[in-house]
């Protein structure tokens, strides 16, 4: 029998029993759709987190005061249990490191912002002009902090979109004088709204020069130093140089922690990748179930068509032809099921993206390929047994079934 004829014969046979065919196609499509949608969710979560990290800034190396994690017993910290301050001068010294592109010291605290009788609690971040580039901020109005001596601390501030909205409403914010704690500062710029992100929400942030923040909070230490390495490849070098410089400045004591965004990112990436894989595995079980259903449907088909199989043998069909015809039918059920499931899955992922626009719910290619192959493979695998049973039927017995 010619391949085209086998396919046509199988198609006519499958469409001849619409309910049975629809059920197997449905089962198979639910399995494939589950793989597509669930992995889209898993991978979407991964991409979302990765994207959020990337929005913190690129090639970031973050310096924290104090030693955490590994590092053996240190007699210096054993005596003075409070870690040494991380100062503005420390930050400035890091600019010497060859692998460092730019950096921004960061001091944070909360304070009250008041204007025209309106009072609001807000997070105040003290930093420098480079903070804008390091964190990939965008300005909606005005300009950012002036590029001045880091110790100077002009009385200016840049505010987040939500703060601006709440305090100034429809009125212009740039140029206005507001009170932050006990200081009067002038608003020079407003950040573009960025929506909810990881860490601090920039929409509710007030950014002032780092020296001003330290004076407000009466502290000499920095909360972080955000260092941007020259490139992705330069991150390890930047980390080593930063550690080396700070160690020298701190009398040979390694009393800071340096984390790279890459390491954090890689951990999340791995974690969420594993989650996606697990979810795909669970969805694949539904594919196996669908395969078993296809097998049963085909076994029923063999029983229902016993007389026909006998006839085909009488008309000269070989066992091989009959095996192929039934296998083709099983493959067809799974192929159509897989195709419908693929479309349903993409529709589902599209629905998720419509409902949650920030969530990049795209199924990963590997999952789509794996889902489709599993569907076809199970369909064929579970089609083999019924096909062989059909091919082995005794023609005389089969013909008598009527």
């Amino acid at each position: 029998m010619r391949p085209a004829d086998i396919l046509r014969f199988a198609r006519v046979a499958a469409t001849g029993y619409p309910l049975r065919t629809a059920l197997s196609v449905l089962a198979m499509s639910i399995g494939v759709a589950a793989v597509v949608v669930l992995t889209a969710l898993g991978d979407g979560a991964r991409r979302y987190v990765v994207g959020q990290f990337a929005s913190l800034g690129t090639n970031l190396v973050i310096v924290l005061p104090g030693k955490t994690g590994t590092g053996g017993f240190n007699p210096a910290t054993a005596i003075t249990s409070t870690p040494r301050d991380l100062t503005i001068d420390d930050a400035a010294a890091l600019l010497r490191a060859p692998a460092v592109k730019r950096l921004a010291p960061l001091a944070v605290g909360t304070s009250e912002i008041s204007y025209g009788g309106k009072l609001r609690e807000g997070l105040v971040a003290g930093s420098t002009a480079q903070f804008l580039e390091v964190r990939n901020f965008e300005l909606a109005q005005g300009r950012f902090l002036p590029d001045e001596d880091w110790h100077r601390g002009s009385a200016v501030a840049v505010i987040g979109a939500k703060i601006r909205e709440e305090i100034f409403g429809p009125n212009a914010a740039v140029g206005q004088l507001v009170r932050i704690g006990d200081r009067r500062v002038r608003i020079v710029g407003v950040l573009k709204s960025s929506g909810q992100g990881l860490g601090m929400n920039t929409d509710e942030l007030v950014i002032v020069p780092v020296a001003l923040a330290q004076a407000m909070f009466n502290s000499n230490t920095l909360f972080r130093i955000l260092v941007e390495a020259k490139s992705r490849e330069a991150i390890p070098a930047a980390k080593a140089e930063v550690l080396e410089i700070l160690k020298t400045r701190h009398q040979g004591e390694e009393d800071v922690t340096v984390i790279t965004q890459d390491a954090v990112l890689a951990t999340f990436d791995k974690l969420l990748g594993a989650l996606t894989l697990g979810v795909a595995g669970i969805a694949a079980i539904s594919l196996a179930v669908a395969g078993i259903l296809v097998m049963n449907v085909m076994l029923v088909a063999v029983t229902q068509r016993t007389a026909e199989i006998g006839l085909l043998k009488a008309l000269g069909a070989t066992g091989r032809t009959i095996r192929l015809a039934f296998l083709a039918e099983a493959a067809m059920l799974s192929t159509v099921g897989a195709g419908v499931g693929y479309l349903l899955g993409h529709l589902g992922a599209f629905g998720v993206r419509l409902a949650f626009p920030v969530f990049p719910a795209y199924p990963p290619h590997w999952a789509v390929v794996a889902g489709l192959t599993t569907a076809l493979a199970t369909g064929l695998l579970f089609g083999v047994m019924p096909a062989r049973r059909a091919a082995r039927l005794d023609p005389v017995q089969a013909l008598m079934k009527h």
Binding site: M1, L312, K313, P395, L399
Partner: protein
């Protein structure tokens, strides 16, 4: 030269404790172009004989030579090939594939044998004409009368130009008039040289054949082709 040569054929069925000798010590020779009717009471082994002749069944003992070739020792795939090229079946209950049209049912043996679609179409068109089924080509079996169904079945049995047509009570499900029509079709085929072996209960139909075999309890009780 005999088309069919059976020698010492035995076919035994085990039914629980009892053994049924459906065919026993059967010797038979049928020449090319013969028209043979097989008669006898129900259960006498007529269908078993026909299945054996059609290579749907194997004897437990004895030799079967078809066109001079021992076919009992062939592999199942080789036997399928012989059925495909040399033998046509006509059944009492027509055995058409319900979801295929009349034309597709007629084409089925060619489809199974891998005949190209173009050649199939030509041969089916001719067969539809020969059996007066031109305007029934696209009808499915349930849209056909009994006589039309059996005409489709005969067209299907002849489409591969077999040497031998085996018909097991082909008129059993038809009224007398349509039954006669079907028999005339078979006789016309015989007139063109095709060997016909037909099982029938109907003595008048049996009498129309040039040779009558009468079976009883698995044995050939009477053979008009040989002096008794």
């Amino acid at each position: 030269m005999p088309l069919i040569e059976l020698r010492g054929i035995e076919r035994v069925f085990q039914l629980g404790d009892s053994t049924v000798h459906a065919l026993s010590r059967l010797d038979l020779a049928i020449d090319v172009g013969e028209y043979v009717a097989v008669m006898g009471p129900s259960g006498s082994g007529k269908s078993t004989l026909l299945n054996l002749l059609g290579l749907l069944d194997r004897p437990d003992a004895g030799a079967y030579r078809l066109e001079g070739r021992d076919v009992t020792t062939l592999s199942p795939e080789e036997q399928a090939e012989v059925r495909s090229r040399r033998i046509g079946f006509v059944f009492q209950s027509f055995h058409l594939v319900p979801r295929l049209s009349a034309a597709e049912n007629i084409a089925l043996p060619m489809t199974l044998a891998g005949v190209p679609a173009k050649e199939r179409a030509g041969r089916v068109a001719r067969a539809l004409q020969d059996f007066a089924l031109e305007n029934r080509a696209d009808h499915r079996p349930d849209q056909l009368s009994g006589g039309q169904r059996q005409r489709v079945a005969i067209a299907r049995a002849t489409i591969m130009n077999p040497a031998l047509i085996l018909a097991d009570e082909p008129t059993g499900n038809l009224d007398r008039h349509t039954g006669d029509e079907v028999v005339r079709l078979l006789e016309a085929l015989n007139g063109r040289g095709v060997t016909i072996v037909v099982v029938t209960h109907d003595p008048t139909l049996g009498a129309r054949a040039r040779r009558q075999l009468v079976m009883e309890d698995g044995r050939l009780q009477h053979d008009s082709g040989k002096p008794a």
